[in-house]
Symmetry: C3
Subunit: 253 residues, 3 copies
């Protein structure tokens, strides 16, 4: 979404349990809260329209600043299993929600990584991603469940701010390559694939040692102009995961 | 407190164990450190004056900047149970400590949430809060104990900086609605109750799923001009907790 | 290192297991990635040159800003025990890596604290440090292993940004004295020893209560002009640890 836009999204519940949509970051009345207590959940076989609004930054009548809605947010079920959606989240009822500010630089490609307890994008083995050298690649990182994680990627870094990119020479945001992310936190950033480090197979992983050892590590493969990775035959290369992401970004909706 | 002020606080120990006060963020000599090794603890039946000083930002003689004391800080016992006050903290010997900068906007109401292991404000069921639509409500969030938490509130967001508010159009602090908070970390922010989302019952909770499921979730009820919450009868509405906070803000002292 | 410099570092493997160097923050090709899959590990008895490059901030041809390499980074083994170096890290194969920006203020002294599971600098009892009143002391804090920690120091605070110091009166970075740090995260800051609080024995510790209780607490002793700590005889004072840090800063290399 772009700040100022409104999204109406109809949830058609084809499952046999009551489910809902709860969004982070956007504006919604209690009727779109997605909680049982606010009567905004959907029975099996039912359908329901959730309305998510966004707004640009502005100045309030008292002179204070009202922040805009832009951010790397996400949505998830809030009712399956428990009144906090613990069962729904466990099963993968979640996805990213990007709200951009007018003028934000668009990526060539968006990759989403959800650390959900010991799974990544609800897979026991984290998925692999591919990009071409020089492509502007956006990562969205979300955590869910009960555990805390530290997202790390080899050979690439980002700014620890709203967009993950510096706005100008006077933007002194800290540059990092590892970030603690707890349940329901999310962040995003853009990198130029292989910038200053070249093509290659670059790991991304949770840096909690037992988590990476148990499968929370995947590949971000950056290919050269010919689609190759120097030093690796095509047989070596991990297949890009095709069905890794249980949800998908709603920014285009 | 306001930057520049000094607080002298006398601890009268009516318990039967040695206790102390250790503050975060403010200036204190070792005699006000609140640790056994610095001889600044209080025997049962004793009394002791702790001195907490604060200062405005300034420039050092070498030209570097000395930060001011403003912040959402807190204080706690540092000697009950262990030399780190583990027993005192477990029992609730803590509270918020707000140091404001001259010119900081004052809230209409301050609410404090302390996630202390699996308790919230030392209650097994998190307390409920109430505000009127449009009130400027300040939240202070503190964690204690052994666990990490992610504070989340429905329908409201804040800026991830000192005040939780943007200073002006050029303040690009990240806007968030969920934040990892580990033991002895603290932060604060102000929201306009119900801004752009209306009155209603808005949950706040730790977003670690097992924590919210086990009681670390309470209600932030925003009433309309008539004191009602649309869609809920008065019987529905949670009672505001009256004795929820074990300590209370010292900003007015 | 200073932004723009390149470091070539030869690893001579005198152990009986394959080992490697993986760096955070700097630029390296896959041949210096330090991973088994990128064929950049060192057999027992072998030697290998890793090349770590750094760069200043700049503007890309598309007008976006490329961040510089400056930061409080670190390096570690990535192959001992598991393909993520879990065994190497457990045994202490890590160290800090500081990349400075031209013009950064240099400290009088640098102290490194690595929280590695329940050890600090690979010791079961955290080491003690000493500084003179008024010295500019740089702390580098790194976490490793499986646990999350909250670094806290008594009587001193820092800015939560790249350098831990405010750049000028318009730098509104949040000032903190406690910070969550997860595996492979790192940060640094400078304090003026004893500023506004005087000489004394100031604890630094992980503020997760069970961690500090079990030894993740040491002393930062600030001596007065005569080398004394008021209120403590020399017998009282903790000996500065002489062999505490398993690695050492590479900034001078």
């Amino acid at each position: 979404m772009i700040e100022g836009e409104t999204l109406e999204i109809e949830l058609v519940n084809n499952t046999d349990v009551t489910a809902s949509l709860h969004a982070h970051g956007v504006d919604y009345e209690t009727s779109s809260d997605g909680t049982r207590m606010n009567d905004s959940v959907v029975q099996p076989g039912g359908r329901y329209v959730y309305t998510w609004r966004t707004h640009t930054p502005g100045t309030r009548t008292d002179g204070t600043i009202e922040p805009g809605s832009a951010g790397y947010w996400h949505y998830h079920d809030h009712v399956v299993g428990t009144d906090h959606g613990t069962g729904g989240i466990l099963r993968g009822l979640y996805g990213p929600l990007v709200v951009r500010r007018t003028g934000d630089i668009l990526p060539d490609k968006t990759l989403t990584v959800v650390f959900n307890d010991m799974k990544t994008n609800n897979l026991t083995q984290a998925p692999n991603f591919t990009a071409k050298l020089g492509e502007r690649v956006e990562f969205i990182v979300i955590a869910h469940g009960n555990l805390f994680h530290t997202f790390h990627i080899h050979g690439h870094r980002w700014a620890d701010n709203r967009t993950g990119m510096l706005r100008g020479p006077q933007d002194h945001s800290r540059v990092i390559d590892t970030k603690t992310t707890g349940p329901a936190e999310s962040f995003g950033f853009q990198v130029i694939a292989g910038e200053r480090v070249g093509p290659g197979m670059w790991m991304y992983h949770c840096h909690v040692q037992s988590h990476s050892d148990m499968g929370m590590a995947g590949m971000f493969t950056v290919t050269d102009a010919n689609g190759n990775v120097p030093g690796h035959s095509m047989d070596d290369m991990p297949s890009p995961s095709t069905s890794a992401m249980p949800g998908h970004s709603m920014e285009g909706m």
